[in-house]
């Protein structure tokens, strides 16, 4: 595949911007020469057709939700409604400068306020900040709130965060960035938090716990209230990772389970697209004791008008340049308006129905280490399918059958994990075809393992050499080697 640096260039393209319409002075006349660029950056000058074809060709090497089934566990790759894309491009929304006076931005502030209210009621928690722009950013902000809360109470020795061993990898990383140490809590045989192991950790150095509900095995913590009660009784706070909200939206609220901070992934549960890795949005909901610490500015209603409120003395400060990912928020807002209560309940119902339907069928072919009713996702193991075949091979072979692979090797507590989340927007027929492919791959693993070991066969590239990518880091275009031109 060519990069933009490999296409023939031409000079004098122009035509995008008008000619200068004020008297030209010249950069040298305006700025000291020592501050001016002396060498052009190597940015290619290309005609529009060249650029269009380049990026169109690149797009065809990608696989998105619009291309087919994308059962990436914990990522909730549901359909992204098209109307949301149209709405986010409304000039009145997209063209708004963030430093415009709030009285000239009332339309956007109105929907941000309304969305905050809806999110607050979905969570069953009183405070909201829309500032965090990703799930991990929500985690970080939530942990900053923990810091603010304990500092205000003079309990600065509370620096330890408890984490179940099934936690998302960003949880421990966020805890570390926020200045906490991490203590891991083992899961019990049912895949839930082991209450005895929890009790053993509880002391005055514990700031709180980070839970994922349902957990990354797709299992609802049946004794969730006991877990959060014990943390609260020990003086700690409860963080809930909202990556798995699709399992219970419209039926249950984290606030009723004892959450003190809950982050939404608008790019998962509320249908906004992932963009190949962002932009997402990770708003947080918080319990009453944490409201005063929320980031500034907050958006508040003042009679008929909406205002940005900066004067909040106990706030942790800001975590984003402005007010979060507003054009992601508008998509989530439109989605909520379209669904209403009825639609939200239907989302979790079909998400859980689809996951259990697939689990029930696939457990006949693949080991299911935690065999019980699941919520929106479940975790199979690729271990022991056939000699010499591993989960990565199964994943790559799925590509040949036209599917995006599931999340692999996560959670860490299942060996050779295959974490499958079908979401509610997949049809029964689609689920059946995926199940058939998984069954055929299991048969191939025994009868013709090379089909798996050499997979993918039908992708734009064959299996990529990760070791080489890690060993010989090439992170920018090697201009100096261009004459060598080995590029396919």
């Amino acid at each position: 595949m060519k990069t933009i640096f490999d296409h023939p260039q031409r000079e004098g393209i122009g035509g995008l911007f008008p000619e200068l319409d004020v008297p030209r002075i010249g950069a040298e006349g305006l700025i000291d020469r020592a501050l001016l660029r002396s060498q052009e950056p190597r940015i290619p000058d290309l005609s529009e057709p060249t650029v269009v074809r380049h990026f169109t060709a690149l797009s065809k090497l990608n696989y998105g939700v619009d291309d087919g089934f994308y059962p990436l566990g914990s990522c909730t790759m549901k359909h992204n409604p098209k109307v949301n894309e149209t709405l986010a491009r409304l000039p009145g929304l997209a063209g708004l400068h963030p430093l415009a006076d709030p009285d000239l931005a009332q339309g956007t502030l109105a929907f941000l306020y309304e969305l905050s209210d809806l999110l607050s009621r979905i969570a069953g928690m009183p405070g909201i900040s829309l500032q965090p722009v990703a799930g991990a950013h929500g985690e970080l902000t939530g942990l900053f709130l923990f810091r603010g809360y304990f500092e205000a109470r003079g309990e600065t020795e509370r620096r330890r965060i408890l984490l179940p061993d099934s936690a998302h990898g960003t949880n421990p990383a966020s805890a570390a960035v926020a200045g906490f140490s991490v203590s891991e809590i083992q899961s019990n045989d049912a895949g839930m938090v082991d209450l005895d192991a929890l009790d053993a950790e509880l002391d005055e150095t514990v700031a709180g716990i980070m839970l994922t509900v349902p957990n990354t095995l797709g299992i609802f913590e049946e004794r969730i209230a006991e877990v959060t009660d014990r943390i609260h009784a020990a003086g700690g706070l409860c963080y809930f990772d909202g990556a798995n909200l699709n399992a219970f939206i419209g039926r249950a609220r984290p606030g009723d389970m004892g959450a003190d901070v809950f982050h939404f992934n608008l790019h998962k549960t509320l249908s906004t697209p992932h963009g190949g890795g962002g932009p997402g949005a990770g708003p947080i909901a918080v319990s009453e004791p944490l409201v005063e610490f929320l980031p500034v500015p907050s958006i508040e209603q003042n009679g008929e008008a909406y205002a940005l409120v900066w004067d909040r003395p106990n706030s942790i400060g800001s975590v984003h340049s402005f007010y979060g990912n507003v054009l992601v928020a508008v998509k989530a807002y439109a989605y909520l308006l379209q669904l209403g209560d009825e639609g939200l309940r239907a989302v979790s119902e079909d998400a859980v129905l689809n996951a259990n339907y697939l689990q029930e069928r696939l457990k006949k072919t693949y080991p299911l280490p935690y065999d019980r009713l699941c919520k929106h996702e479940f975790v199979l193991s690729g271990k022991g399918l056939a000699e010499g075949v591993c989960t990565l091979d199964i994943a790559k072979r799925l590509i040949d059958y036209g599917f995006h692979p599931p999340t692999v090797y996560f959670p860490l507590i299942v060996r050779e994990a295959l974490m499958i989340e079908p979401t509610e927007t997949e049809s029964r027929d689609g689920l059946d075809r995926f199940a058939e492919a998984m069954e055929r791959i299991a048969a191939e693993a025994r009868e013709a393992p090379e089909l798996l070991l050499d997979a993918p066969h039908q992708a734009p590239v064959r299996r990529l050499d990760q070791t080489r990518a890690a060993r010989d880091l090439v992170l920018t275009y090697p201009f100096d080697d261009r004459e060598g031109g080995e590029l396919a």
């Binding site: 660029r37 690149l58 990608n62 291309d67 249950a252 190949g276 962002g278 009713l373």
Partner: protein, 440 residues
């Protein structure tokens, strides 16, 4: 619900195959008291048509977009070639996840590799990451990274950082235990570097700074000992200005919105982050690396992942997972479309037009430009009358200008910050100056 494909018959068949009678049976594990506490939103479903109408109405209440924009402060009213949004609208790009499976993500990964190259070229650095959230968090991440490398627990930052970057940096610094000390400002609007503490991990400057003034980066590196030099930039300005790499900067960050992104009321944005090869292992964020496939064909994959949280967990260099990939794609398409020539052209348009307006305003009695340092496309004016009244008059005449309060933290009690991009015509600039003249 139009987004749900199942018929009632499908659901019955599926429940039967699971071995339960009712959907509710699938939720039996939710504790009774939790289920009983649930309250619906009281929100009836709306049709697509109604939702479009409702949001279109709301969008019409943003009076600011009807005005001609002279606000900057890190977010600028630039022209984005049509091609940018056309490419972004391809759902193969926007409906994909983070490229965990490189064989079906070569589009995203190739574009990310191109982005890293373009940002490295633009900033004069060895390597760039695949994006961070925004310019403010990029600055905060740079400070944390520098403190990981030098471990002094202290960093010095220019007073003239954008106020939002300063706020975010203080929050991150507070939580991570990194003390932030401020470098004072000279009368020119530049940073006073005569007394940089010698026990800091890094010195962070912004150029052009929050007052629009271009810092003199020559010789800074020598003056700050072995502290790392972090520079926050405006990417369009680098069409004419020397990149920080020319001055031996260690880390370059910036807000990438000017590269083809809409202003979007401040989000989504694009955090730019570039550094020197020697610091690569400490760099936060995703990177795409070139490799080969089983047949020797060139391909791309996420590289240097040993820094990342799914491998290192609590020892990761940062917690960044989802970033701004699609915004990075927009910047990539923007730069590929304008090319080096177009970038220089657009930078010159900004530079010349901003100076034209500044010169016109300087001629008006009752106005002066308080800072003598050189500027790019943004500058501060100081009226002799109340700046809020001047802002009001400009708004009434159809010109969008930022409220003067934003400048108070820089010691400017009664000033206005004015940004001029390539989108402003001479007629608009003349009229703007005329309104100021009449407003005296």
């Amino acid at each position: 619900m139009r987004y749900l494909p199942h018929s009632s018959a499908d659901r019955r068949t599926m429940l039967a195959s699971i071995g339960v009678f009712l959907i509710d049976d699938l939720f039996a594990d939710i504790p009774e008291e939790v289920a009983a506490a649930f309250r619906p939103l009281g929100l009836p479903p709306k049709s697509e048509q109604e939702v479009v109408a409702a949001l279109t109405d709301l969008s019409a209440r943003n009076a600011a977009v009807e005005k001609t924009c002279f606000i900057g402060g890190g977010i600028y009213d630039h022209y984005a070639p049509s091609l940018v949004d056309h490419v972004l609208s391809r759902s193969e790009f926007y409906t994909a996840y983070t490229p965990y499976q490189p064989e079906v993500s070569q589009g995203t990964l190739t574009a990310m590799f191109e982005f890293q190259t373009l940002i490295s070229e633009l900033t004069g650095m060895d390597v760039a990451n695949g994006s961070l959230y925004d310019g403010a968090t990029a600055a905060a991440e740079a400070v944390l990274m520098a403190d990981r490398i030098r471990s002094r627990g202290r960093v010095a930052i220019a007073r003239t950082l954008f106020a939002n970057a300063r706020r975010v940096l203080e929050t991150y610094g507070w939580a991570s235990g990194t003390e932030v000390v401020e470098l004072p400002m000279l009368a020119s609007g530049r940073t006073d570097l005569t007394d940089v503490p010698d026990d800091v991990s890094a010195v962070l400057l912004q150029s052009p700074n929050a007052l629009g003034v271009i810092e003199d980066l020559a010789g800074v590196k020598e003056r700050i000992g072995d502290a790392l030099l972090i520079v926050s930039i405006n990417p369009i300005s680098l069409g004419v200005l020397a990149p920080p790499g020319d001055f031996d900067a260690d880390i370059v960050v910036g807000e990438g919105q000017p590269l083809g992104l809409s202003m979007a009321y401040g989000g989504p944005l694009l955090g730019l982050f570039a550094t020197r090869a020697e610091h690569l292992r400490q760099m936060p964020g995703r990177v795409s690396g070139r490799t080969v496939d089983a047949e020797g064909k060139t391909g791309y994959t996420m590289a240097a992942q040993t820094r990342e949280q799914h491998i290192r967990r609590e020892r990761a260099t940062s917690n960044i997972c989802t970033n701004s990939a699609l915004c990075a794609l927009a910047a990539t398409v923007y730069l590929a479309t304008v090319g080096a020539e177009g970038l220089r052209h657009v930078a010159e348009l900004n530079l010349e037009k901003a100076h034209y307006l500044a010169d016109r305003i300087a001629e008006i009695e009752g106005f002066d430009l308080p800072f003598s340092g050189p500027f790019f496309n943004e500058f501060v004016i100081r009226p002799s009358e109340d700046a809020t009244a001047v802002q009001r008059r400009l708004l009434d005449a159809g010109f969008l200008v930022e409220a003067p309060e934003g400048l108070r933290s820089f010691g400017v009690e009664n000033g206005l910050r004015i940004a001029v991009t390539e989108r402003r015509t001479r007629a608009e600039l003349d009229r703007f100056a005329d309104v100021l003249g009449g407003a005296r």
